[in-house]
Symmetry: C2
Subunit: 219 residues, 2 copies
DNA sequence: ACCAAAAATGAGTGATTACTCACTTCATTA
DNA sequence: TAATGAAGTGAGTAATCACTCATTTTTGGT
C-alpha cells in the first residue's frame, strides 16, 4: 500500500471514492502527524504547511478554517473505528455462523481492533487527545455509537445470555466492561506503555480469558 | 472545607505546609479550571489573569513561565494519585489485618480512588489531557509508579497468589487488568459518560465481582 | 508614623497566530 | 493553441501570544 492509498482508504465514507490531489494528501498527512504529536491547539498552520511542503494559503484553499481541517480528518475516522459493527449482516453472522460463543466474538473483535489501532495509531492519538476539548467530536462519537453499535451489541449480548453463556448482568454493564477491557488493553499497549516488551498474542488471550471468566454464567 | 483549604491540601507534598497568598491561590484555582476546560495550549495567561482577578504580571512573579505554572499544579497531584500506596505500613496492613482477601483490597482501593476522582475531577481532567503532550509529566508518573506503587502492588499479588486466591498469571498482567478495570470505570463514570444515570455502588460492586471472577484461581 | 522589602501592576515587547487576497501556475478541453 | 477555471502561492493583516520591567501599592517591623 503506497503513501496515499492508506489515507484515501481511511478518509472515504460508505465506499465513496475520495479525490485527493497530491498537495491535499500531503497536507492531511502532515496535519495528522503533527496533531498526533503536539496536539491540535499547539500545532500552527504554518508548521503544517512547512511539513507538507506547501504554501500556507493552500491549506486554506481546501479547508476554510483550521478546525475544518481537523474535522476532515476526524469525521471519517469515527466510522472506521466503528467498522466491525457497521456491516448489515453483522448480527446475523454473529448468531448463525461465524461465532459460536461470546468468547469467539470478543476474540475476533479484539484482534480486529488491535490491527486497526496498530495501523492508524496517529489517528487514535488525535482522538484520545482532542475528544476532551471538542464537544462536537465527542457528540459525533456518541451518535455513531448509539446508532450503529449499541443496538447490535445489545442483541449479541441478549443472544448469549439466553444461551446461558453470559451472566445475567444488565447489557449496559457487560458492554461497558467488554469495551473497557479491550480499549484498556489497546491504550496501555500502544499509547501508555508502548516500550514494554509485549507478547501481544499471549496478553490478548489472557485478557480475553479474564473477561470471559468475569462475565460467564456461574454454576 | 473552604475554598483555599482544598487547594493547599492538594498541593502539599509530604505534609509540608504550603504558604499560598490570596492572589496566588486565585491564580492556581483559575489555572486549574481553565486548563481542565480548554486544555493547557488553548488557555492564555491573560485569560487566567482575568479569571483570577489579577494582573497578568502577577502570574509571572510567582511562576517564571506558563509551563512552570502547569507543573506547579501537576507535580504534587501525582503524589495524591498514588496516595493509597505511599504509607509505610501499607504492605503490612494489607497482609496482616486490614484486608483478608484481594477482593477486599480492591474494594477499598476502588472506593478510595472513586472519592478522590470525584473530589479532584478538574485535576484528573488535566492529567487525562496533558500527559499526552508533555513527556516530562508522563515520566514523572512512570517514576512514581515504579518507585512507590509497582513493588508494593506486586507483593500484595504474590501474597494472595500464595494463599491460592489469585490465578497464577504474571503479576504484571494482574496489575494491568486491575488498574485498567478500575481506571476504566472511573473514566467512563466521570469523564466519558458522566450524564448517564449511574448507580455507583451497584456498578462498582459488579465491576469488582467481574474482576475477581476473572482473576481468581480456578479449581 | 516611618521605611524598606515584597507584592502587585499594566502598558509595552517582539514573535507568532489564523486567515486573506491579489496574483501566478497548471490542467483540461474546445 | 487559446481559453478558462481550478489549484497553488506568499506577502500582508489584525489579533493575540508569553513574557518584561519600570512604577505603584501593600505589608510588617520598629
Amino acid at each position: 500500500m503506497n503513501d496515499e492509498q492508506w489515507l484515501q482508504e481511511l478518509l472515504k465514507i460508505n465506499d465513496e471514492e475520495v479525490k485527493l490531489s497530491d498537495k491535499q494528501a500531503k497536507i492531511l498527512e502532515a496535519a495528522i502527524e503533527m496533531f498526533a504529536e503536539k496536539g491540535y491547539a499547539a500545532t500552527s498552520t504554518s508548521e503544517i504547511a512547512k511539513r507538507a511542503g506547501v504554501a500556507e494559503g493552500t491549506i486554506f484553499r481546501h479547508y476554510k478554517t483550521k478546525k475544518e481541517l481537523l474535522m476532515a480528518i476526524v469525521t471519517p475516522t469515527i466510522m472506521k473505528i466503528a467498522a466491525p459493527f457497521l456491516a448489515k449482516e453483522f448480527v446475523k453472522e454473529v448468531f448463525e455462523s461465524q461465532y459460536s460463543s461470546y468468547e469467539d466474538f470478543i476474540r475476533a473483535l479484539m484482534n480486529n481492533r488491535y490491527e486497526f489501532v496498530k495501523k492508524y495509531l496517529p489517528m487514535i492519538r488525535i482522538f484520545w487527545q482532542e475528544t476532551a476539548f471538542h464537544s462536537d467530536i465527542k457528540e459525533q462519537i456518541q451518535t455513531v455509537f448509539m446508532e450503529n453499535i449499541y443496538g447490535k451489541f445489545k442483541r449479541v449480548i441478549d443472544h448469549f445470555q439466553q444461551k446461558g453463556e453470559l451472566a445475567d448482568l444488565p447489557a449496559n454493564t457487560i458492554i461497558r466492561m467488554t469495551i473497557t477491557t479491550i480499549v484498556g488493553f489497546l491504550l496501555t499497549r500502544f499509547i501508555l506503555l508502548p516500550n514494554l516488551q509485549w507478547d501481544d498474542e499471549q496478553e490478548m488471550e489472557r485478557t480475553i480469558q479474564m473477561l470471559m471468566h468475569g462475565l460467564k454464567k456461574e454454576g
